[in-house]
């Protein structure tokens, strides 16, 4: 542009050149940081894979099916069977409890509660999402665990026939996967609630009023107008919660008394999760033991990547659909 108007005053020319240089610098700076984020993600995958390959090449056991975790023994043997089982089971229990309750709370805030309660309560839920997990862990270990003893023996007594609620030794301290699941449910409740509440709020007002005008009760209105609209939102909110539950480290490490036993008796202490195992074994681990832990960390990374990616894709598809 400057070349086509040679008659323009020199000052203006310089200003334009400056602004173009400034624009270029600024744009490259901002694009650079975007690229940096991608590089970090790639580096996480790359570095963990690098250490994992080292670890797996010396593993004497089968990485997927071995129960033990003794990478620093003379013949290193370690596997993720117990960890994968514990991670999935505790996250599943958490989801089974948290998702219905969170939907209930979200509906409570968006459609049921009197406005005077709804606003402060929504605020409170947001605040609770910020409570550090170590504090949930501390509370879980020193408050929740003693208080769940009764529930555990009740489940053992009356639902013991279901096998999963059967305690091998009655009256053991409930530092088991079931308690972990309950604690995780409490921890992911705020995030699921927050996301689904926002979706419920966006449900088209016209549909709701039409349903009510046709004589629907409030529940029928919610079932026909709000929930179908909010379903993708609920799914993605749940998957965000699932991602949190899968990766939660310190609260699980505090509450669970771990062992390398894979048992479907949910009320027996024992088992472990990926993150908890890393946190617990890390300090005593030799350099090779660390590499082994990184291999399990890589598995966790891939799992959470898939879960979160799927959640985002569902949300993105809904955006396209509604636009």
């Amino acid at each position: 542009m400057t070349s086509s108007t040679p008659a323009a005053p020199r000052g203006r020319e310089r200003r334009q050149r400056d602004s173009r240089v400034g624009d270029k610098i600024f744009m490259n700076l901002s694009r650079g940081s975007g690229i940096l984020l991608l590089v970090v993600m790639a580096a996480i995958a790359g570095f963990l894979t690098w250490r994992s390959v080292i670890a797996l090449s010396k593993n004497e056991g089968n990485f997927l099916t071995t129960f033990e975790w003794t990478p620093d023994a003379p013949t290193p043997v370690f596997g993720i069977a117990v960890l994968a089982f514990g991670t999935i089971v505790s996250a599943l229990i958490a989801m089974l409890i948290a998702v219905p309750v969170a939907i209930g709370i979200a509906l409570f805030i968006s459609h049921y509660a009197p406005r005077r309660i709804a606003q402060p309560f929504a605020y409170l839920v947001d605040l609770l999402a910020a409570v550090p997990s170590i504090i949930y862990g501390l509370w879980g270990a020193l408050f929740l665990v003693p208080h769940l003893g009764g529930l555990n023996s009740w489940l053992d007594q009356y639902l013991g026939w279901t096998y999963i609620f059967d305690q091998s030794r009655a009256g053991t301290t409930p530092r088991n996967l079931f308690t972990v699941g309950i604690l995780l449910a409490i921890m992911i409740l705020p995030i699921i609630t927050a996301v689904s509440r926002e979706v419920f709020r966006q449900a088209p007002r016209m549909h709701e009023e039409a349903a009510l005008a046709l004589g629907a009760t409030r529940w029928e209105m919610i079932r026909t107008a709000v929930l179908p609209f909010g379903r993708p939102g609920i799914i993605s909110a749940s998957m965000l919660g699932l991602g949190r539950a899968l990766g939660e480290t310190i609260a699980v490490a505090v509450v669970l008394s771990s062992s390398n036993v894979l048992s479907l008796h949910l009320l027996d202490p024992g088992g472990g999760t990926f993150a908890q195992n890393i946190a617990l074994k890390f300090n005593e681990a030799q350099p090779f033991g660390r590499d082994a832990l990184m291999a399990s960390g890589l598995v966790l990374f891939v799992i959470t990547l898939l879960v979160n990616g799927a959640a985002r894709l569902i949300v993105a598809r809904r955006k396209e659909y509604s636009a």
């Binding site: 624009d23 901002s30 993600m41 501390l138 509370w139 965000l240 350099p287 832990l293």
Partner: protein, 358 residues
């Protein structure tokens, strides 16, 4: 109903029966709730159930069942279902409030007796772990330094990335960045810790330090900052940008002088919420900072301490009543810090929302 019935009482009755079916009186849900709580306590006492949790569960189940049956008898199936949904929603609300309230109250109860001037100004140097005393000064210093360094790294990068996505981003690169920022939000903190460990400590050969902890925290913080800043920048009205371009202001200056100042309230809120989030992270710090009992003011050299890791050590390593007490004290300080940040951040958001657009 009342106007029609008073004027023509003779034939109004069948009409009103048609229009308004039988309803339970307004006080019914309250009465059922009170009744089921009494019944729940009664069953708990008679059945000798130790845990109060079970009493509450029994009362909640009774409430749902009784109000459903009652309503089905008086009002019919559809109304009963509606009542069922309403009572389930209320039960969900109570189920959520109980543990969350208990968490807050219990932490304050346990921590308040521990936190005092001495606790805040002393480290654990030379304190017997099986005895009283000691404090969190070294952990406070460590947390402030690590979180500060992480913010210094993550906030500018996050901000610039958000600017790129909103102001420049088109095409596949922007799409990829958006997607991976979303995915990165879900990276477990322990994985971030492992990554920094393999990069910083194993590949590059550095030792434990506060700084390597803050590198991991920065990774956790970046996507949160990007996400919130992006939302805020999108709220800035386009007219402002166009007005600025029309006056011949270059794009970068428009962003720096017009767009960012307009959104600064929301951006600050987002950064503060992200700071609050990483302040409570334990796992990466535990691996990278190592946890010293003494005061180390230099985050670039040698082990440090941090509040969440201090709680973990007092609980899991010390593992006696004195340790628990110190853990609760530190937990109270940590929760107060995080909540305070949250409240201030939300206050700023309300005070300077970009919607004003002046």
């Amino acid at each position: 109903m009342s106007a029609a019935t008073t004027s023509v009482p003779a034939d109004a009755r069948p009409v009103s029966r048609l229009l308004t079916a039988n309803r339970l009186p307004k006080w019914a849900p309250g009465a059922v709730a009170a009744g089921s709580i009494v019944l729940g306590c009664g069953i708990g006492l008679v059945g000798d159930l130790k845990s109060k949790l079970q009493w509450g569960l029994i009362a909640a189940i009774l409430f749902v069942v009784i109000s459903y049956v009652l309503s089905a008898q008086v009002e019919g199936r559809r109304q009963a279902k509606d009542r069922l949904a309403t009572s389930l929603v209320w039960v969900a609300f109570i189920l959520a409030v109980v543990p969350l309230l208990s968490l807050t109250v219990y932490t304050i109860q346990q921590g308040a007796s521990v936190v005092d001037g001495n606790f805040l100004t002393h480290s654990m140097m030379g304190v017997r772990s099986a005895g009283p005393g000691g404090g969190i000064y070294h952990a406070l210093i460590g947390t402030l330094e690590q979180v500060g360094l992480a913010t210094l790294m993550a906030a500018p990068i996050g901000l610039l990335t958000a600017v790129y996505l909103v102001e420049y981003g088109r095409g596949t690169l922007a799409k990829a960045v958006t997607f991976f920022v979303d995915v990165m939000t879900g990276v477990p903190s322990i994985v971030a810790g492992l990554f920094i460990l393999s990069l910083w400590n194993i590949a590059l050969g550095f030792n434990y330090s506060g700084f390597s902890g803050s590198l991991a925290l920065a990774i956790l913080m970046m996507p949160v900052v990007v996400r919130s800043t992006e939302e805020m920048l999108k709220l800035v009205p386009n007219e402002l940008r166009e007005a600025s371009y029309a006056l011949g202001v270059p794009k970068w200056k428009t962003i720096l002088r017009i767009v960012l100042p307009t959104a600064i309230g929301g951006i600050t809120t987002g950064v503060m919420l992200a700071v609050a989030r990483i302040t409570g992270e334990t796992a990466p710090v535990m691996m990278l900072v190592f946890g010293a009992a003494y005061i180390n003011n230099n985050p670039f050299d040698g082990p440090q301490q941090s509040l969440p890791m201090y709680i973990w050590q007092q609980y899991a390593v010390v593992n006696n009543d004195y340790g628990y007490a110190r853990a609760w004290g530190a937990a109270l300080v940590l929760i107060a810090f995080v909540m305070g940040l949250n409240l201030i951040a939300r206050g700023i958001a309300r005070w300077r929302s970009p919607k004003a657009g002046h």
